[in-house]
Structures are given as structure tokens and as C-alpha cells.
């Protein structure tokens, strides 16, 4: 056992710092490539199609069921206090502020992040990225940037769809199934949900999560060891790191946005 030796500690710290620096530089490059990516919008469009459209069904189904469950649970607790009329408010605030962005980001990491990591990691393993560099094509610009920006565009749209479908799901269970007064359901919601404070902050959250999840997926793919095992490890790491990052960021963002 020699992990405590100064040389090992030094090596571990140095390689961690190097990874961090690589990641930060790649992030700055990807953000800087926004204009370039938008100029060749065809590439970004194909990624939005791949990451967004194909995730739509899982996001919409999850949103619907989360809305159902929120309405059922919310109704059970609220009717104890005789305030079942604020069910719409509870469901909407829960979805728009927290569950919409967070659950969408977690699903997005599982559905789209993994495929990004695996695709880029396999390109690395198959030396396609090296081949591009040989042909003086920058892989960061040609491969990573369109994927990154495609994910950043798709994620807030998916979160909005999730929240909207969830609200409709809550309405279906609350009003149609249980029989809460429909006017009170929408009225209480409309009097207390604020466009900028609640809906707007939810959108800000989903943009931040989109950047975080897509960047982690792209980075893990790019840094993956060029072996089958390396790619599989990178894919696993994408899900673990993206999920933890989303949950951690969510706490920080909530503390910043909703504490007085």
C-alpha cells in the first residue's frame, strides 16, 4: 500500500487538476463555437432531431404519469385540511419549479446523454477522431459542438413539454377523475403562479441542466479510453455524474432563486 506516499498524492492531484483543466478548456471552446455551430445549422438540427425528437415520447409519458401521481398524492394531503381546491397550484408549482427541469434532466441524461457518450467514445476508439485531425478537420468543431448545442437547445423544450403535459395530467386526475372543481383548479393556479418567478426560473433551471448534462456527456465521450471497456465506463460515468450534478445544481439554484 503506497497511496499515502507524497509522490502518489502529488500525481493524483496533478492528474485530477489536468482533467479539470481539460474539461474547462473544452467547455470554453464549446461555448465559443456557438456562432460556428449556428452557421452550419444543419449539423445542430440533426442533433436536435436525434436528442430532442426521439426523447419526446419518454418525456411526455413521464410527465403525464408524474402529473397523475402528484395530483393523487396532493389531493390526499390537501383534502385533510379542506383545501383540495389548491390542488392545481400544488401540482403546477411542483412541476414548473422542480420536477419538470430535474426529472427531464435525469431522463435526458439516461436517454440522450448516454448515446452521445457512446457515439463519441466509439468514434475515439475507432480512431475516427484522429482521422479527422489528420484531414485537418477539427473534431471539437465538427463533432462535439453541434452535439453540445443540439442538447442545450433540446433540453429546455423537453422540460417545458414535461411540465405542460404534467399539468394536464394533474388536471385529468384532479378534475376529471376525482372531481375537484375545475374553476378552482385553474383559478388558484393562475392567482399564485408567477410567470417570471416560477415559469421563468424553471426555464432557467432547465437551460442550466441542459448545459451541464450535455457537456458531461460530450466530455466523457471525448475523454473515454479508446477501448470497449473504456467506452462502457464512460457511459456509466455520464449517467452517474450527470445525475449527481443535476441534483446538486438544483439545490444551489433553488437556494438562489426561491429563498428570500
Amino acid at each position: 500500500m503506497s497511496w499515502w506516499r507524497p509522490s502518489h498524492v502529488g500525481y493524483a492531484v496533478r492528474s485530477k487538476l489536468a482533467d479539470l483543466g481539460m474539461g474547462a478548456r473544452l467547455f470554453v471552446r464549446l461555448v465559443g463555437l456557438f456562432g460556428t455551430a449556428m452557421r452550419r445549422f444543419g449539423l445542430v438540427r440533426d442533433q436536435v432531431h436525434f436528442l430532442g425528437n426521439y426523447s419526446l415520447s419518454i418525456i411526455a409519458m413521464s410527465g403525464l404519469f408524474v402529473g397523475f401521481v402528484l395530483a393523487l398524492q396532493g389531493y390526499n394531503v390537501l383534502q385533510l385540511y379542506g383545501s383540495a381546491n389548491s390542488l392545481g397550484l400544488v401540482v403546477t408549482l411542483g412541476l414548473v419549479r422542480e420536477l419538470g427541469p430535474v426529472v427531464t434532466a435525469l431522463l435526458f441524461a439516461g436517454r440522450a446523454g448516454t448515446s452521445l457518450t457512446a457515439e463519441i467514445g466509439l468514434m475515439r476508439a475507432g480512431e475516427q477522431l484522429s482521422a479527422m485531425e489528420m484531414m485537418a478537420v477539427d473534431p471539437v468543431q465538427r463533432i462535439l459542438a453541434p452535439r453540445f448545442w443540439g442538447g442545450v437547445i433540446a433540453m429546455p423544450l423537453l422540460a417545458a413539454v414535461f411540465s405542460a403535459v404534467g399539468v394536464i395530467g394533474g388536471w385529468l386526475v384532479g378534475v376529471v377523475l376525482i372531481g375537484v372543481d375545475g374553476g378552482a383548479f385553474w383559478g388558484q393556479m393562475q392567482s399564485s403562479v408567477d410567470v417570471w418567478k416560477d415559469v421563468g426560473n424553471g426555464v432557467v433551471k432547465s437551460v442550466v441542466f441542459g448545459v451541464a448534462v450535455t457537456f458531461i456527456a460530450v466530455l466523457q465521450g471525448y475523454m473515454a479510453k479508446p477501448t470497449p471497456e473504456g467506452v462502457s465506463r464512460a457511459t456509466t460515468r455520464t449517467v452517474v455524474m450527470a445525475s449527481l450534478t443535476v441534483l446538486g445544481l438544483d439545490f444551489v439554484l433553488t437556494a438562489l432563486m426561491f429563498s428570500i
Binding site: 438540427r45 430532442g52 414548473v96 423544450l157 417545458a160 405542460a164 399539468v167 393562475q190 403562479v193 415559469v199
Partner: protein
């Protein structure tokens, strides 16, 4: 730029996302009504606001006519200064009185506005002087217990005098 068959699906996806946002903004947060809800601001001083919060409703005869805009502490009079935004279409006489009330036993606190009889109406920036503070449950219980103790002590005291 050449077109591809993905164009239409990506377009539909983006439109769907936009529609979801618009739905959330209009249906849940009622953006349109918020924009029209502009009104005049009146201020009032209360000895104790209890649990009143900004954005609480201002009601007259049970109908919401405005919202509490801000609450601050005035260290000259040691009172709470509450700014209320009343909707433009409602006018109240100058001598209207304000009360802090509670909806239900454990519900939120709101401000009830009771119209007075004067002909001039409250305008932007006017000050309402006739206010009644929130009922603080602890004070109420304290008074009740004190009253009970007085009642209990009175006959005993009377007996002592005899």
C-alpha cells in the same frame, strides 16, 4: 442551406416546446391578466401585521380588489408600513378602513377594506389612517386567561372584604 427531411420534425419539436411554454405562461401563470392588472398604490400603517405577507390579497366584501405590494418597518412610529396596490377599476372613499383578517381558522391573512362614506376617493399615494391590526392568537389567549383569573379572584376578594 439544403433542406432535409429532419427539418419538419425538428420544426414540429421546437413548435411543440414553444407551445408548452406558452401554455404554461398563459394557462398556469395567467400572463395576460397580469399585464392588465395595473393599479394605484395606497399605504397604511398597522401596529401589528401578524403573518401578513407581500402578495396577500386585499378584499372588499370578499372580492379580491388588489394585492399587498410591500411591507416595511417604520422606525419613527414603530409601526409596520404596508403598501397596497388596488386595481384601477375600483375606487374607495378616503375614509375607508383597513383590517387584517384571516381566511378560515388557519388560513392565510389578508387585508379587508371597508368603504367609508366620504365623497373623495383614495388616489395614488394616499395614506389610510383608520386601520385595525391583526389578531394575535397569543395576545387573545393571554387576555382570556387574565379575564378568567380576574373573574375567579373577584368573588374571593369580595368575600375577604366582608
Amino acid at each position: 442551406m439544403q433542406h432535409s427531411k429532419n427539418d419538419i420534425w425538428v420544426g414540429l419539436f421546437v413548435l411543440l416546446g414553444g407551445a408548452a411554454l406558452v401554455f404554461l405562461a398563459l394557462q398556469s401563470a395567467n400572463l395576460l391578466q397580469l399585464n392588465f392588472r395595473s393599479g394605484y398604490v395606497i399605504t397604511a400603517r398597522f401596529d401589528n401585521i401578524g403573518g401578513l405577507k407581500p402578495k396577500a390579497a386585499v378584499r372588499s366584501a370578499g372580492v379580491v380588489v388588489g394585492r399587498v405590494q410591500s411591507i416595511s418597518f417604520d422606525d419613527k412610529t414603530y409601526q409596520a408600513r404596508v403598501a397596497l396596490e388596488i386595481e384601477k377599476r375600483y375606487a374607495f372613499p378616503k375614509d375607508s378602513s383597513l383590517k387584517i383578517l384571516t381566511s378560515g381558522l388557519l388560513g392565510d391573512q389578508y387585508i379587508g377594506i371597508e368603504p367609508g362614506a366620504e365623497e373623495d376617493n383614495l388616489a395614488d399615494g394616499s395614506m389610510v389612517t383608520n386601520t385595525q391590526s391583526a389578531v394575535v392568537l397569543e395576545n387573545l389567549i393571554g387576555q382570556f386567561l387574565y379575564g378568567k383569573a380576574e373573574q375567579g379572584a373577584a368573588p374571593a376578594g369580595g368575600g375577604g372584604k366582608k
